[in-house]
Symmetry: C2
DNA sequence: TAGATTGTTAATCGATTAACAATC
DNA sequence: TAGATTGTTAATCGATTAACAATC
């Protein structure tokens, strides 16, 4: 399969969401213009993006909603559910455990870890919080693929090491720090400070009117 | 002042963080190579990015840490603190209220709103949760510039309208939905589902080794 | 047939990378 | 002077936009 550009990959979830909405509304067919309108993307861009993973439209007609939805699930890897462990049971961690958007994207958190003995043994949404020293054995046993880091910045690198030693293939990092990981580990940084700084810049520079990201 | 490219703007907070660390360590001078190493960015890119807002380095020497730090605070608009109201007192909202990274970036949440009467009147970090109908008057009175939306997707557009009617200039949207706002309002979407979908794609496609974002 | 809309090509735009003269 | 490192230019790379022939 050909390589999908990163910017395109970032828009696919937007299309996916727009299509789910359309499907819920009973729509069978959607045009690139309609899809773009709903996702906030130019129609030419929509068509270009879609062709990166196939031909799903019919000239003069549009795209078949269920077909395209299925294709997107494929390409986004949502067909096989993703299991993850979460390290750091603070508020951000708990928010992520509960984030409603994730069920749709097939994320299942299977264990939570925290270094604080106070929290250990507590239940969160039916999941027990385990002590950090049990991480390696549990992750190995479950064969979990994704590790989510919601610890303070100071502990994040250590946690990343543990996760990698335990065999996770991907790390989703919410700690505000630049993690070093081996090249075969997929790393995604979700850095809220970047978003804030961007807003702050545009506010103080007086340029309104930007659609950021 | 010349326009700073968006990708550059996204990297500035990383430099800022690296510089804070360097300053804390008592470093006076830092090279583009060191700064890049710390921020996870190529050194040529670092130099290019910095020149978008001035000349702060000395050939053969490097950059003066305090100077560059100051310049970044300027350009990121951190010199004037940013006040925000937050709408949606769920777990994500609470997590954001507590996110430690924000203090450094000068964000101050001055009021919280929620539609749920159960939550109204409760205190969160010394802030009372107000009913939604009081939003307009309070925001107008405080002159708040930023509105943070952490409601479910279904209510987000309505909340955005209220915020805009109340005079906020920027919206930081965490609800998984494509908001429509007038062109003079700055909109930043923080979409966790995009991050997840990206991870999921790389996991299922078998390409490891990507540093995503 | 006439109107609509795709898939794709070509043109434009913008960002990254590489290289190096100027400077310390 | 020799070595280091910036700021900047030019070359490369990649993404977006525009246009349109092909198709329904």
């Amino acid at each position: 399969m050909l390589e999908i550009p990163k910017p395109t990959l970032g828009r696919l979830p937007l299309y996916y969401r727009a299509l789910v909405t359309a499907a819920d509304a009973g729509l069978e067919i959607i045009s690139s213009a309609e899809l773009g309108e709903s996702a906030g993307v130019d129609s030419a861009q929509v068509r270009k993006d879609i062709t990166y993973f196939g031909q799903f439209g019919r000239p003069g007609i549009g795209y078949n909603v269920p077909n395209l939805l299925l294709a997107l699930e494929q390409i986004l890897g949502l067909s096989n559910p993703n299991e993850a462990v979460l390290v750091g049971a603070g508020r951000l961690g708990m928010a992520i455990c509960n984030y409603p958007g994730f069920t749709r994207f097939g994320l299942k958190i299977v264990a939570i870890f925290d270094i604080d003995p106070q929290k250990q043994g507590q239940q969160v949404d039916g999941l027990e919080i385990f002590p950090l020293w049990r991480l390696e054995r549990i992750v190995k046993k479950l064969g979990t693929q994704i590790g989510i880091i919601t610890t303070p910045a100071s502990s994040a690198q250590g946690v990343a090491k543990m996760l990698i030693a335990s065999g996770v293939q991907a790390i989703w990092n919410f700690a505000p720090v630049n993690l070093k990981v081996p090249p075969d580990v997929i790393l995604r940084n979700e850095d809220l400070a970047v978003g804030l700084a961007t807003l702050s810049h545009y506010l103080s520079s007086g340029h309104g009117s930007q659609k950021l990201k």
